[in-house]
Amino acid sequence: MDLDAVIRECLEGSQSAWETLVNTFAKRIFNMAYQFSGSRQEAEDKTQEVFLKLYGALPRYDSGKNFTAWLLTLAKNHLIDEYRRTKWEKTQRDDFDERVLAQTAGDGPEQSLVEKEAKTLVWEGLNRLSADMRMVIILRDLQGKSYEEVAEILDLPLGTVKSRVNRARLQLALVLREYRGGTS
């Protein structure tokens, strides 16, 4: 798919080109918002807002740039700004989806239970991270971006990104240690 052509058609008012753009990026943006906020409802609202912003900002997109990185930067800015503006920080995230956990059963029921516990703890632990830390871990470990891509999206030096990722992972590891009772 020629993304530049799709964007050009969008700017000319083509509904089908817009739908192509939505089909390509909606899942990624929705997941980013869901992982960041921890709430499906909040994620749906934020995804709508990001796409409204995208539609308004499309004429300003420089076709020489990486569109995916540009869109993720727009989404990241919106999520963090809204988070700071509204102080929307839930004390609890939505429960981790049981159906999804069932898919990842490992070497047996015991292994599966340990994995499930770790996933639930890490999922809830994401709320303990600051907005910046949470975003960096979402991009790197949940969305699977390379350090270079994360640095481009966040507009940060590579070294800062690597150090933030390490600190965020350590904070989440400490959540596991805390839950399991210190140095067991």
């Binding site: 899942k27 770790a118 890490v122 999922w123 992972r169 350590l170």
Partner: protein, 171 residues
């Protein structure tokens, strides 16, 4: 290497990004320090948990809402445009200018550090004005009484003149 330094290098160690010498140093520390080795295990578990988080599918309602974004924007424009055009008519510019001056004056009165003194001065001037107007009214009232008296005298003298005239005729 200290445990703090090892903590800083753990992700790079896990991802194989360290130079050979540094990697050997970290490995040696981990072999000797159960606390750091435990942290490395937890870090591995954390990254595995994060990597295992699945992608969630957006609902059909959300997708429908996203498809409708251009329509919503256009509808907003349809409503917004006439209001914007009305507000930006050149004929309204003097009104906006007058309001601006009024707001500046009002903000000066309300938020000036010596606003209390300014308000008091305005109040004094206002009451002076009211007093002057009342005085004019009072004077006008007095004048009215005098005019009435003069006109009554005039009518009376006029009537007397008629009486005199008729008396002269009888003679």
């Amino acid at each position: 290497m200290t445990c703090e330094r090892i903590e800083e290098l753990l992700s790079a160690f896990l991802e194989g990004e360290l130079a050979a010498a540094e990697k050997a140093e970290v490995a040696a520390h981990l072999a000797a320090c159960p606390e750091c080795a435990r942290l490395l295990d937890l870090l591995k578990e954390t990254t595995c948990a994060l990597a295992g988080f699945p992608e969630v599918e957006p609902s059909p309602e959300l997708m429908a809402g996203l498809y409708a974004v251009p329509e919503r924007k256009a509808a907003r424009k349809r409503w917004f445009r006439p209001v914007f055009d009305t507000l930006t008519r050149p004929a309204l510019q003097p009104v906006f200018a007058a309001f601006t001056v009024l707001f500046i004056a009002l903000s000066f009165v309300l938020f000036h550090p010596e606003a209390r003194g300014v308000r008091k001065q305005i109040s004094v001037q206002f009451h002076k004005g009211v007093g002057a107007v009342e005085k004019i009214y009072a004077d006008a009232g007095g004048l009215k009484g005098e005019i009435r008296a003069v006109s009554a005298n005039f009518i009376k003298s006029f009537k007397n003149l008629d009486v005199l005239k008729s008396g002269e005729g009888k003679k």
